[in-house]
Amino acid sequence: MRPVTFFRAGSIDEAVAAVSGHPDSAFLAGGTTEIDLLRLNVVQPTLLVDVNDLPLTYLEDIDDGGVRIGAMARMSDVARAQRIVERYPGMSQALLLGASEQLRNMASMGGNMCQRTRCAYFRDGQSPCNKREPGSGCAALTGVNRGHAVLGTSDHCIASHPSDVAVALVALDAVIRTIGPDGTRTIPIESFFLPPDDTPSVEHPLAHGELIVAIDVPAVPVARTSRYVKHRDRVSYEFALVSVFSAMRVDDAGNVAELRLALGGVGTVPWRAHRAEEALIGRPATPENFAAAADAEFADARTTPMNAFKVTFAKRAIVRELSEVTS
């Protein structure tokens, strides 16, 4: 880690001013990604602006039944907050299945939205990596890429997105609220996570100095029965091979009336399964239709010999999850 200067911001204005006024600076929240990557010399800001003191740890009701989550609320607190458990159990589960209790006590919700990939070629600080060093290439394309993405990839990057809770949030159509040097704005979550395309280094639309201050989760009645299931090699403390967030309502006729489906571990971004949703809504909730929907979602999957299993794995995981929710 290179020498850094440190500023502990006492207010949002101060924090935004400090970062936007310094070209080589970064916010420091829970630090669980930032400090790790600083030590690996993958990111190299020279000014760290500590935002842990900011009064952004709240959870409060919005609209009719939605929740606003302060950006500095810790994952462990959000996971166990009554209104999250009741209204979005799948989100609570996603939070609790992420990392470890120590990390969840540290990691903030805003920071989680900025979590970086675990791609070994990104993290090593040396290999060709378009995400770390634009234009240098992508060693993962032909490297060891078992954990890499099969959806949303490009010729320039196949790094998978590591977050669990972000999978829930894309399914819930959350909105990211920010304050930056140019004022406040709101960003729909699916516009927040940018697929790699030609610019893998640009992961979200935040301007320098723009701080996430809250995440709005709208009222989603169907999410009261939502679930998050995470499949991985070991039973705990591991990033997902494949994870599935689902919230589904089947009407009296046995047709899928509402469905929110999102996937982790398979996409370059937290993956909302729009195609599967479209394929199922209005159709009978049967295993055959679930399978067809899963096929549709992965129709454009791009795989390598090492991660091709994820397609089969994910399809089966989707079918199982929807079948269990139905039964």
Binding site: L48, E101, S236
Partner: protein, 174 residues
Amino acid sequence: MAINQSTAAAVTGVRGPQDVPVTLDVNGSTHAIELEPRVSLLDALREHLDLTGTKKGCDQGTCGACTVWMDGRRVLSCLTLAMSCEGHQIATIEGIAQDGRLHPMQQAFIDHDAFQCGYCTPGQIMSAIALIREGNATTDADIAEHMSGNICRCQAYPNIHAAIREVRDADDGG
């Protein structure tokens, strides 16, 4: 709301990059030391305060050996900057035994042979005590899941579980 340049210029109190005075509250004592901002809490404890009970296993947030409590909650000291801890109460393994008497969890670890090489042990104990306090030790599955941030390469896990169950079930609750 726009933040103009005069506000930005008004930001004062940037510290470092050289050594700066830092005050840390560790195990109930106040320590005034000089640190660079890039020093982690883990390295501040081990290299500056000579509190080497907190272990460095990976320095990457993947093993749990560096687990300490900040304001009573367990966190990883390797991914925490020492300067971020000013104004917070830090507790380490050295502060767990009181008046020369082992904490019941420490004694239970010895009695159940819940360690071999001992390197992950301080972190395991800091997590184990916190686990009960959190209410995450109710079932065997809870214990297993919520201790999973602490890796034991010697695989003393079954014995650690036994130690935790014993303390949980003791009258004083540890």
